[in-house]
C-alpha cells in the first residue's frame, strides 16, 4: 500500500463511527431494533479496516506516514489538518475499534429496554470517533479538538441516566476536573505554537532537532512538556485529578469499560507517548513520580472498596499510574504495551462486572427487591456455579491484571518493573521500583479479594438469588474474545519475555529531539540496564504477585484470619483507604469551601461597603432632588405647561387638515408634486 491508500483507509476508519453517530442520532428511533445493528456493524467494519491496516503497516514498512491538508491559512501561516500513521497509531486503532465493537455487542444485551437505546449507540459512535481522531492526528491542535470531543462524549455517556442526580453530578465532575487539566494542556500547546508557529508534531520535533527550544530556555521546554502532560493528568485520571474517574461509574457499565480500557483514559497515555521525544529529563522525572504516586494511592484505596465497579475503577487509576510511570522512566514500549494489554483485560473485567450486575439486577428485579445494591460485593458470592462463563473469563482477566505468568499482563508488567529497576540503578531513584513492586502486590491482592468475594463461597442473599442466571450470549461472547486476548501469545511467543515479541519490534522508543544535555538516559544505555536487571525483575514480579494472591486466598477464602479485626487494628489506615484518603473532602474543603468563603466575603463587601456607598449617594441625591423638585414644580412646570397648552391650541387648528380621507391626502400630494415640478422646470 502507498501513502494515499493508508491515509484514505484511516480516514474511512475515522469517519465510520461519525457516520454511525449521525445516522443514529437522526434516524435511530425509526430504524428496526433502534439501529443497534447499524452502530455495531459499522464498528465491525472499522475493526476489519484497522486490522487490515495493522497487518500491512507492521508487515511492510516502519516509517511514519504523514498526510496533511491546509485547513486555514492565516497570513502566511498554514493551520493544517493531518493524519499521522506509524506503528503506534495502527496498534491503537485496532485496540480502540476492537474494544468499541465488543462494548457495542455487550451493550445490545446490557442496555436492552433502555428508553434511550438508540441515543446510547449514537453516543458510543461519537465517543469512538473522538478517540480515533486523537489516535490519528498529526498535530496538537487537532489533538486538542478531539480531546475536547472525548470530553463531551464522556460527559454525555457518564450522565446518560441523567434522571439520577448522582449521574449528572458525576458527568459534571468528570467534565470540570478534565477542564483543569485541559487548560494546562492548552497553555503548553500555545507555548510551542508561539515559538514554532506550527502545531504539527513533525514540525515541532524537526525544529527542536535543529536546536531551537522555546524562548531559548530549558525551563520553558520543561514547562511546556509538563503543561501538556497536565492534559494527560486530567484525562488519564492521574493524581491529583484522579477524583472524577470513580464517580464516572455512574454511567452504564459498558461505557465504563469503554472509558477505562480504550478511549478516554488511554488518550492521556497516548498523548504522553506522542510528545515523548520532546520531554526533558526533568519533565520525565515529574511524570514518573506522578504516575507512581497515583498507582500507589489508587491501589491502596481499591483494597477496601465494596462496590465492584469502584474496585475496578481504582484499579484502572492504579494501572494508568503504572503506564505513566513506565513512560516517565523511559520504558516507553513497556508502557504502551501495558496500555494495550490493559485495554483487553480491563475491558473484560468491566464487561464481566457488567454481566454480574446485570444478572444480579435481573434476579433482584424478579423478587421485587429494589433496595439491595446490585453492585455491592458483600451482596454477592457463590456466583461461580451460576455464571460459569463469566467466572472463568473473569478469572483470566484477574490473573492477567495481577501479572501471573502466561498472561498478557505479566509480560507488560514485568517489563515495567524491569524498567523502573533499570532506571533506579542508573540514577538512584529507588523509590520508584519500590512503589511499583508494592502496587503490583496490592493489585494481585485486591483483585483476588474481588474475585473471591464475588464468585466463591456462599451467596450472601441466597433465598433471593435462587434463579440468578448466566447472561445471554451477546454479553458473554465479548468476554470470551477478550479473555483470549489476555493470553500471552498475541503479544509475544515467549511467555516470560516481552522484548522478543513483535510488539517490542513494532513500537520502539522514539529518539529524543531535544539538546543532548536535557535528555534522559539514552535508550541504548537504558536497554542495557534493563537487560542487566531483567532476571531480578522477573523473579520479583512473580514473587510479589503470588504473595498478593496467597494473602487474598488466605484471608478471604480460607478465612485464616478475621478481616474485620485486622481492619480495626490498622484503624486509621483502613479508614483512610475506605474513604479514598479523603480526596473529595479535601477538594471540597480546599476549593469548594474556599470559593464559597471568598464568595461570602465578596457578598459582605457588596452588602456593606458597596451598598453603603450606593446608599449614601442615594441619600445625598434624594436631598438634592428635593430642591430640584421645588424648582421643577414651580418654574419648569410652568414653562412646560405653557408650551404644552400653546401646542395644544396650535394642534387643534391643524387637526382640521386631517380629514381622514385618503383621496384628499393623495390630491394634496399630487398638488405639492406639481408645484415642485413647476419650480424645478422653471416655468
Amino acid at each position: 500500500m502507498d501513502i494515499l491508500n493508508y491515509s484514505s483507509l484511516s480516514l474511512i476508519i475515522l469517519l465510520l463511527p461519525l457516520l454511525a453517530f449521525v445516522l443514529l442520532i437522526f434516524f435511530g428511533k425509526k430504524l428496526p431494533r433502534q439501529g443497534d445493528w447499524l452502530g455495531t456493524s459499522i464498528m465491525g467494519l472499522a475493526l476489519i479496516s484497522s486490522l487490515y491496516l495493522l497487518f500491512n503497516k507492521i508487515g511492510s514498512n516502519s516509517e511514519t506516514l504523514i498526510f496533511t491538508y491546509d485547513w486555514v491559512v492565516l497570513g502566511s501561516l498554514p493551520i493544517q489538518l493531518g493524519i499521522m500513521i506509524d506503528n503506534l497509531t495502527v496498534i491503537m486503532l485496532v485496540v480502540v475499534t476492537l474494544v468499541s465493537l465488543l462494548v457495542h455487542l455487550f451493550s445490545i444485551g446490557y442496555m436492552k429496554d433502555d428508553p434511550r437505546y438508540s441515543r446510547y449507540f449514537a453516543y458510543l459512535g461519537l465517543f469512538s470517533f473522538s478517540m480515533l481522531g486523537i489516535v490519528l492526528t498529526s498535530n496538537l491542535l487537532m489533538m486538542y479538538m478531539f480531546w475536547e470531543l472525548v470530553g463531551i462524549s464522556s460527559y454525555l455517556l457518564i450522565g446518560f441516566w441523567y434522571e439520577k442526580k448522582s449521574a449528572s453530578n458525576a458527568a459534571n465532575k468528570a467534565f470540570i476536573v478534565n477542564r483543569i487539566g485541559d487548560a494546562g494542556m492548552f497553555i503548553g500547546i500555545m507555548i510551542l505554537f508561539i515559538h514554532y508557529a506550527t502545531f504539527s508534531f513533525q514540525g515541532i520535533f524537526e525544529a527542536m532537532q535543529a536546536g531551537s527550544i522555546p524562548f531559548e530556555s530549558q525551563a520553558w521546554l520543561t514547562a511546556a512538556g509538563i503543561l501538556i502532560f497536565c492534559g494527560a493528568v486530567g484525562k488519564s485520571a492521574q493524581f491529583p485529578l484522579h477524583v472524577w474517574l470513580p464517580d464516572a461509574m455512574e454511567g452504564p457499565t459498558p461505557v465504563s469499560a469503554l472509558i477505562h480500557a480504550a478511549t478516554m483514559v488511554a488518550a492521556g497515555v497516548y498523548l504522553v507517548a506522542r510528545v515523548f521525544p520532546m520531554l526533558t529529563a526533568d519533565a520525565l522525572i515529574v511524570i514518573a513520580y506522578i504516575g507512581a504516586i497515583t498507582a500507589l494511592i489508587a491501589a491502596s484505596i481499591a483494597i477496601t472498596q465494596f462496590d465492584i465497579k469502584k474496585v475496578l475503577a481504582y484499579s484502572t487509576i492504579s494501572q494508568l499510574g503504572f503506564m505513566i510511570m513506565a513512560l516517565g522512566v523511559g520504558a516507553y514500549t513497556a508502557g504502551i504495551m501495558h496500555l494495550v494489554t490493559h485495554a483487553a483485560f480491563k475491558a473484560g473485567l468491566f464487561l464481566g462486572a457488567g454481566s454480574v450486575i446485570y444478572a444480579m439486577h435481573t434476579a433482584l428485579h424478579k423478587v421485587h427487591d429494589h433496595k439491595t445494591d446490585a453492585q455491592d460485593i458483600r451482596n454477592m458470592g457463590g456466583l461461580k456455579q451460576k455464571m460459569p462463563l463469566t467466572y472463568w473469563t473473569f478469572l483470566i482477566f484477574t490473573l492477567a491484571i495481577s501479572g501471573v505468568p502466561l498472561t498478557s499482563g505479566f509480560l507488560s508488567k514485568d517489563e515495567i518493573l524491569a524498567g523502573t529497576l533499570a532506571f533506579s540503578s542508573l540514577n538512584g531513584h529507588y523509590l520508584l521500583p519500590l512503589i511499583a513492586l508494592t502496587v503490583a502486590g496490592l493489585t494481585a491482592f485486591y483483585m483476588f479479594r474481588l474475585l473471591i468475594l464475588t464468585f466463591h463461597g456462599e451467596h450472601a442473599l441466597k433465598e433471593r438469588m435462587a434463579d440468578i442466571k448466566e447472561s445471554p450470549l451477546v454479553m458473554t461472547l465479548p468476554l470470551m474474545v477478550l479473555a483470549a486476548l489476555s493470553l500471552f501469545v498475541f503479544y509475544s511467543f515467549n511467555p516470560i519475555a516481552a522484548y522478543s515479541g513483535w510488539f517490542f519490534q513494532a513500537v520502539e522508543r522514539p529518539l529524543h529531539v531535544i539538546p543532548e544535555f536535557l535528555q534522559p538516559v539514552h535508550s541504548f544505555l537504558f536497554a542495557e540496564a534493563v537487560d542487566r536487571v531483567h532476571g531480578k525483575a522477573l523473579f520479583l514480579s512473580i514473587l510479589i504477585a503470588s504473595a498478593g494472591i496467597a494473602l487474598a486466598y488466605f484471608l478471604y477464602l480460607l478465612k485464616g484470619a478475621d478481616v474485620d479485626q485486622i481492619a480495626k487494628k490498622v484503624g486509621i489506615l483502613y479508614k483512610g483507604s475506605y474513604h479514598k484518603w479523603y480526596f473529595d473532602e479535601m477538594y471540597e474543603a480546599a476549593f469548594v469551601k474556599t470559593t464559597m468563603a471568598v464568595t461570602r466575603i465578596l457578598k459582605w463587601f457588596d452588602e456593606n461597603i458597596v451598598d453603603g456607598i450606593v446608599n449614601g449617594l442615594a441619600t445625598i441625591t434624594r436631598y438634592i432632588s428635593r430642591v430640584h423638585r421645588w424648582t421643577d414644580e414651580h418654574i419648569v412646570d410652568g414653562l412646560v405647561n405653557g408650551s404644552a397648552s400653546l401646542a395644544g391650541i396650535l394642534g387643534k387648528g391643524f387637526t382640521r387638515l386631517q380629514t381622514g380621507r385618503i383621496q384628499a391626502y393623495i390630491a394634496l400630494v399630487v398638488f405639492g408634486f406639481v408645484i415642485l415640478f413647476i419650480v424645478f422646470i422653471g416655468i
Binding site: 384628499a664 390630491a667 399630487v670 415640478f677 422646470i681
Partner: protein
C-alpha cells in the same frame, strides 16, 4: 400616413377613450369592462414599440388575471347583484383641475425636451435576448420577484381568510 401611424392613433384612441369612459362611468362593472379595452389598447401600443412578448404578457396577466381579480372584488364587495353598483364621485371639479394640471406639466416636459431618436429595425423576436438577460444580469431581481410573489400569495391568503368579526370600536 403609413400603416404604423394609423395603428398608433387607433390604439391611442382606444386606450384613452376607454380609459376616459372608465373613469367617468357611474357603473363599476362597466368601468371594469372599459378597463379591459384600455389594457388591450396598451398591449397594441406595446406591439408598435416592438415589445411583442410584453404585449402578450400584458394581455395574459392584466386582462386574464388582474381584471378578473378586480371583477371578483366587485362581486364580493357588493351586496345583491342589481343594487349598489352605482358609485359616486367626490371632489370632481378640483380633481379634474389637478389632473389637467398634472398632464399639462408632463406633456410640456415631454414635448420641450430634446429626445435623441435612434432608428431601430424591428427585431424578429425579443424573447431570446430577454431570456438571456433574465438569467444573467437580472438573476437577482428575478429571484427576488419570485419570492415577492410567494409572499404576496401567502399574505393575500392570510388576509382574505382570517376575517375577524369583532365589532368595530368606534364609528
Amino acid at each position: 400616413m403609413s400603416l404604423t401611424t394609423i395603428l398608433f392613433y387607433l390604439f391611442a384612441l382606444l386606450t384613452l377613450g376607454s380609459a376616459t369612459f372608465m373613469v367617468f362611468s357611474r357603473n363599476i362593472v362597466h368601468a371594469a369592462f372599459a378597463m379591459m379595452f384600455t389594457l388591450l389598447g396598451v398591449a397594441g401600443l406595446y406591439v408598435l414599440l416592438y415589445a411583442d412578448f410584453i404585449a402578450a404578457t400584458q394581455i395574459l396577466v392584466y386582462v386574464g388575471g388582474i381584471l378578473i381579480l378586480i371583477l371578483f372584488g366587485i362581486m364580493l364587495t357588493t351586496q345583491g347583484f342589481t343594487s349598489g353598483f352605482k358609485t359616486l364621485t367626490v371632489n370632481l371639479v378640483p380633481g379634474i383641475g389637478l389632473a389637467l394640471l398634472a398632464s399639462a406639466g408632463l406633456i410640456y416636459v415631454f414635448v420641450s425636451s430634446p429626445w435623441t431618436s435612434v432608428s431601430m429595425e424591428a427585431p424578429k423576436t425579443t424573447i431570446t435576448e430577454m431570456g438571456m438577460l433574465l438569467m444573467h444580469e437580472y438573476m437577482l431581481p428575478f429571484q427576488v420577484t419570485g419570492l415577492l410573489l410567494l409572499v404576496a400569495i401567502i399574505g393575500a391568503l392570510l388576509m382574505a381568510t382570517k376575517i375577524s368579526h369583532k365589532p368595530k370600536k368606534d364609528s
